[in-house]
Subunit: 193 residues, 2 copies
DNA sequence: GGCAATCCATACTCAAGCGTATGGTCATCG
DNA sequence: CGATGACCATACGCTTGAGTATGGATTGCC
């Protein structure tokens, strides 16, 4: 399970490599995903890697697949559990804002949209999330077209925020300023109940 | 005579390389900035390059500097020429939306925020633009703090849009849909006059 | 026309990183 | 307890791309 920090002497599986790959991607981007670097990180050598995967691209593919499957469910599931649709959107905003950790991989993949393996994954994920937002805005009272555009706008704001304040270290806001920003977003983007 | 096959046989300057570099960056990203590739593109060899620049990084630095200086003025100057502050913001939105060409470099640099040379440039540019937006929102009637947060939100939406619809090919909207989206943005983000 | 200075080509070296070949070790099962 | 298969180390080949060395070509200038 935890093979990232300790030079443990346990045997590795394909999943170990995929997790480590995602870890590395989150930290240093897709471009830094090199097999020898990963091996060093896991305390083994290339010999191990090429037993589990045919190529470097195969690892990337598997890691992306893994991320797409297991990395998305929590937030959406939590939000969908909230009964009152009017509370959902503000809650979604606040939660996403305060759990930026799981978004590290997403931010990294955003910077790798030139890679052919990354594009379809990101397209699917972004599509699903935008649809989720669209439905939420409709439940909040917006007509269909308005809801779709508002969802696009909201999701774009999310993505842009990741880039500007996450990977770029722009004017690192204080906690207070950040909370104020989130509340401002809520007031501006969510139709008044 | 052979102008049809060969791209001119004129001598090159450092600026030629910088411009070509920006072109390449816009097309294929910072990672694709290789000196031999650039040389091929300019119809010369490495020998030329290393006369003009000491290293690859030096070219990047020079190109970024050039971009920061010459690539920004037009839009802001045009907008500042509009007398009525209330017309400025909608106009800004519409112009930026329809002249996405000059934003190709910016979008590419956004994906290279892990590179140490890119970060400070992007920090400065984003900072300046956000300040410009903040001032505009204040003139549009928002109180200081509101104006700042609205500027952040707006700029984040811009950046996110670039990523999602520019580099990623998300649901390629039709022209009509796109215009509708822009107008929706205007209605949502700009305080009513 | 000749002489610098500028610009470019050719031919290298060197390091990084992917992938291959092959043999070693350890657990597990019969 | 030995054999099989899973897992890993070592050593190599190959390609790409940065940077260097050096000489040839071209231009500006006197």
């Amino acid at each position: 399970m935890n093979a990232s920090t300790k030079p443990e002497r346990t045997r590795l599986s394909a999943e170990s490599w995929e997790d480590a790959a995602l870890e590395l991607i989150a930290e240093q981007g897709v471009g830094a995903l090199a097999v020898e670097a990963l091996a060093r990180r896991l305390g083994v050598t290339k010999g191990s890697f090429y037993w589990h995967f045919r190529t470097r691209e195969a690892l990337l593919q598997a890691a992306l697949e893994r991320w797409e499957q297991y990395g998305e469910r929590e937030v959406i599931a939590q939000i969908e559990a909230i009964p009152d649709p009017r509370v959902r959107l503000p809650e979604l905003f606040r939660r996403v804002a305060h759990e930026l950790q799981p978004h590290r991989v997403y931010a990294a993949l955003l910077k790798a949209l030139d890679h052919p393996l990354v594009v379809p994954v990101m397209a699917r994920v972004s599509q699903r999330r935008t649809e989720f937002l669209t439905a939420a805005f409709r439940e909040a009272g917006l007509p269909p077209k308005e809801a779709l555009n508002r969802a696009r706008l909201t999701y774009a704001a999310y993505v842009g925020f990741l880039q500007l304040n996450f990977t770029l270290g722009l004017p690192r806001m204080s906690h207070e300023d950040f909370d104020a920003y989130v509340e401002h977003m809520i007031r501006t983007l969510i139709p008044a109940a």
